[in-house]
Symmetry: D2
Subunit: 308 residues, 4 copies
């Protein structure tokens, strides 16, 4: 078959310091839709054009950060096969029962070499995007705030980048689309990986601070809507890290900003279409600035230092 295995980033559980403040931010400014709360107090949200029950789970905690990263896979059989493959590769896995997350089937969990907790799942209740499946309209009305269309990708940091890269490529079937080399001209400083036609579904950065998150990204439809997003952030005094800007990597455009707890979020737009017969792009150490911030060709200190 043509599209198989791991489909896409499906959900992420983010820790927030003040739940009410976070919900207000994620619904009124970022413009996600609240779809449920569970017995433990977690709040579930989805982007306007997502059809599954949720893509973001907010959990109150005493420090910011990300609990786990979930990928949806094609079906239950794929879930079993991937679990088998992970174990054969030497990765310990654990099953989380269906219903532990609202409206979500069994999840297969594992830790990647960079320390992050990942999970795979095949089932989540489809609640739709308001358009239905019979003679649908083309626009979703009553969108609020920035209103991204979907959860798009993550950039996460850890020491054993090579380990996580190889696991995603060799076991989970991801393709390498871009890399930044270290000063030695050989070792990967950062890698961008995809399981789809997107230019990236996940990025790993080599960093002594294992199991940390640089950002979760949400997809914006146009460069003009990215401008609106920045205007709204400025009006509501959201803490903008940097942007709107152009990436060299992926050719995408972007704004980085912080939720009220200090988790960095990206609104991302664009990116070329990837096919697995394409050669990956390589960026040298000297051109890392242009790789990340194509116009200024210089990184800012905050962008490099803050992870959660």
């Amino acid at each position: 078959m043509a599209l198989t295995g791991v489909l896409r980033p499906g959900h992420v559980q983010i820790r927030v310091l003040d739940l009410d403040e976070a919900v207000a931010f994620y619904t009124q400014i970022l413009g996600l839709v609240e779809t449920g709360r569970d017995a433990s107090g977690r709040v579930y949200l989805k982007a306007c054009d997502e059809r599954d029950h949720h893509s973001v789970i907010l959990r109150k905690a005493d420090r910011a950060g990300t609990d786990f990263y979930g990928f949806k896979v094609l079906n239950a059989r794929t879930l079993d096969l991937l679990e088998t493959d992970l174990r054969a590769y030497g990765v310990q896995t654990e099953r989380v029962r269906a219903g532990d997350l609202l409206e979500t089937g069994e999840r297969v969990r594992f830790h990647a070499p960079t320390g992050h907790l990942f999970e795979l799942y095949a089932e989540k209740t489809e609640i739709g995007d308001t358009l239905g499946y019979l003679n649908p309209d083309v626009i979703i009305e009553d969108r609020k705030g920035i209103s991204p269309v979907r959860l798009d990708h993550w950039q996460i940091h850890g020491e054993d980048l090579d380990g996580s890269r190889d696991l995603f490529v060799n076991v989970l079937g991801f393709s390498l689309t871009e890399r930044i080399l270290c000063e030695d001209g050989k070792t990967d400083m950062a890698v961008w990986l995809t399981c789809s036609n997107k230019a990236h579904d996940i990025a790993f950065v080599r960093d002594a601070r294992s199991d940390t998150s640089h950002h979760a990204a949400f997809l914006i439809e146009t460069w003009k809507k990215l401008l609106y997003a920045a205007d709204l952030m400025a009006k509501r005094r959201v803490s903008i890290d940097i942007g709107p800007l152009r990436h060299g990597i992926t050719r995408g455009t972007s704004i980085y900003f912080f939720d009220p707890s200090g988790n960095r979020i990206e609104t991302f737009c664009g990116g070329y279409s990837f096919y697995p017969d394409m050669k990956p792009y390589t960026w040298t150490w000297e051109e890392m600035g242009a790789a990340i911030f194509y116009h200024t060709r210089e990184l800012n200190e905050r962008f490099l230092s803050v992870v959660t």
Copy 2:
């Protein structure tokens, strides 16, 4: 693996009445790049952001139309497997030697039940898009005319729609994304199929005129560039069928127009991202107008009657 099997529409051989006039149209107005001519006089072209040697082949003939439709597959092993699967399904296949098309490997040919000649191939020389793979820039300069980024999809007509649909779904791994039902509310009048995250890679329409083409489509980056395309067509007196317009199907936007030989071409923009866990959309007979031309909700006679 995540992206496997058939990758994308890779090339199409179009018949034109006057080769010089056609080359002028496809390079100066549509804005493809000529990449070669072969001993038999065929002209090879590619879109600006395509990396393989060609996606369009123009052949001089005494009537317009399409000779064959080629899909690129992941690799040589996939080509062998798909050939085996086709034969197991009862489809006769034929190998065309490497080099028959410039810079192209062996092709596996077969006729679909709608009468069209398809081919699969795994190898074509990568000539790049001018950006290179080391510290690439983000824009391609010196683009001419309309300048689509790639060949996108085809809509083709034939009597045994069910046969071609089932072949593409069951053997080639395509997914059904949308359908229009006949007046009986059961039979498919038209189907849209994808082998990727695109909302469609090919569409089949039930039509007594088997082995005919409605249009070949090229991807445009934005609705604004689609306006420029229409402006340029009007300035150069290209025969516009209809557009710019919005489709209900795929949510895409479009202009339909004719090359000097009467082949209908589409410049297409947008379309939602498809994943194989998504339900297909169904359009009823009564809403066929909105399915195709979402704003006016009415088809025009020429759009229905002209195929080549």
Copy 3:
């Protein structure tokens, strides 16, 4: 001074058959803001980025059409001077008392040779666009529906086009920006006039049906927002006349549609910047199609026949 005399189309009173239905249409679909109702039952509306109290007045009547067209002038002294000039030119004028329209000062009324009732006024209460005048933000939030930024221009029809054209040019200081010639190659079939940097503030078309309106136009910010407008019209089953499309005249883009009473409305976008040292454009009779609908180069029957 640099900007003097007549400033811009300031308001228009439109007749509607069902007031509730009309208010629902103009506020929820077109997306104007209701700002008041007067003792006679008229409803006042403004566009989101207009600062004066209103630009549209809806009056219940038993047939559609336009009661009068109001231009704002620089100040009270200008109002007096223009009244004097009109009378000197042989035009009868009448003063309507301040307060006859809500929040509006005295108006000077006159009939143009094409039969239309115009009025000039210098004062209308400024209620703002929500941004204020101290450290303003750059976006207006909570916009509904199509949400044009302002009333833009009118196209109106009448027999004595020459008379109205000369009155607007010679007395009111308008400049001719474009014209379509009649079949004789000499007489004006239609003229576009401006009192600002806009490509047109009003257009007159020669037509035996004097004192009729072809459309009132509202300004949309981008071609992309025009697409959204058409999508929303289609979703809400608004009667679209034609569009989205490109005009040859003004280089603007447009959708024409009808309010529930049958008044034609245009959402207009773009248009070049005009300065009075620029030569006017002339369109010949044969190219009238391209002048109006640049891509198709053909007029539709409904566009020509329906006026109110």
Copy 4:
């Protein structure tokens, strides 16, 4: 009349260190069109949608900066009247003979209180924008590089801001659209002035460095074309000061960059439509950051310190 007096910024003479390098920059990267060279070696350029012979004159010199700023006025009679008014206001004026600048009529020169040399003129040969005036097309083809549509405005610095502001408002008929106040909450730190429907045609900033220029600005059509401009600058290693960004003032969007001689240039897009019945906006000292760079709300050192 509705549009009278001073029409628009018409030309600017810029000093460059290396003429060949400058011409290459202004034609191939900025994308102006060279229209002539005079006996003294000056190079004349225009933007693609300007119709007069030139808007930029490059003069080789041993330091960067601006020689003079020219405004076009309505006609010869207006030129005489404004000269009379200037003298009545106590400003010395000088006539420069027709032909001193190629294809340009007599110019009336004067120094503003901020030290800058201005000139007014009524005549310049109209060479058109390639579209002609009979059945014109809507797009200009073969545009190169960034390709702004016109010269838009200047920001210039000097000590006696009050004097220049009053001269432009009281004698030349400009309107104040926005101001930033000094720390005292009363004095103008900077003022934005217009003679048209533009949000600004010129800005004065209070600065001990009299007769200096902060930037000359060229108009870009869309926020998307501004992104392309930045991409092209990055690719060609143009020195970008800052951007793409949003201004609080004017609501415009922008990139600031330097020509090879160090003259700062702005590509500007947008800005609200101004009418002289509108109240000016006031920005307080504390919000100067947001006034200039709306998203980050912080000025950069280079933006403040470099003038030529």
